[in-house]
Symmetry: C2
Subunit: 124 residues, 2 copies
DNA sequence: GTACGTTAGTTGCACGTGCATTGAATGCGC
DNA sequence: GCGCATTCAATGCACGTGCAACTAACGTAC
């Protein structure tokens, strides 16, 4: 792969990401009072069938966010009453996170927006 | 395009961007004391054949950065002596930015790193 | 049991970013 | 000439992020 082609690919990747993440951020914020990271976390939590929730670590593997950023994102969600943190009994270092009813509702409301923005922006 | 396919595409895009931007950021910072945005600006400036430099506005069109972020990025580059700002005589609201010799050198040194990281990361 | 290295998650801090505002310069209508 | 909307760039401010340091809990060796 010649250098210039790779650089062009990077610029295209960069452009797409910037456009889409920006569109998602503002649409979710405006219509549902959710940041992109917040929605992403909520999306994974609701998507996980296990009712006990996910551990921070598992979330971290799925979402590209530093450990500290994830910790604060979950803290914001908890403050808004959308998720609950629960100490893991088997390994008391761990923390289970699971959505509340309000969290599930907010997610259900925001999901169509999320999907729509992705579809229209990627299909441009 | 079904929703789930689009969401998967977005997640893949997101993953690639996170991996590559993170790798670029740390490699450029560590080896050349340049942030990713700084390099990007320098890269455009050196790439522009026009010796008088580019206007802030033109830079803004090429780089996906808010106007304020761009302003500060150029300010950082100027503080490090890598670019110079010059008032535009025809339209005194405008500002021309052009690389200094030091800027050209730093860019020449950083460019191989930039290309290498992109090639290895995109080819994974 | 005690000590030690490792792992999970949180917090202090500095930094880059976006939004909104500001200030200066331009162009247009009159 | 005089206003007035618009454009370009810089700045105040709040916020999310990453890094490094920290605390707590676990596992192992002895």
């Amino acid at each position: 792969m010649p250098d210039e082609v790779a650089v062009q690919a990077w610029r295209e990747l960069s452009r797409q990401y910037a456009t889409l993440s920006c569109a998602l951020e503002s649409a979710l914020q405006e219509q549902h009072q959710l940041g992109m990271s917040e929605f992403e976390v909520l999306d994974r939590l609701v998507g996980a069938q296990d009712c006990t929730g996910l551990r921070m670590q598992e979330l971290g593997e799925q979402i590209h966010l530093s450990q500290s950023a994830l910790s604060r994102t979950v803290a914001r969600l908890e403050k808004d009453g959308l998720v609950e943190r629960q100490l893991c009994t088997s390994d008391r270092r761990g923390v289970f996170v699971h959505p509340t009813d309000a969290g599930r509702e907010r997610h259900a409301a925001a999901r169509p927006t999320h999907r729509a923005v992705i579809n229209t922006t990627l299909g441009e």
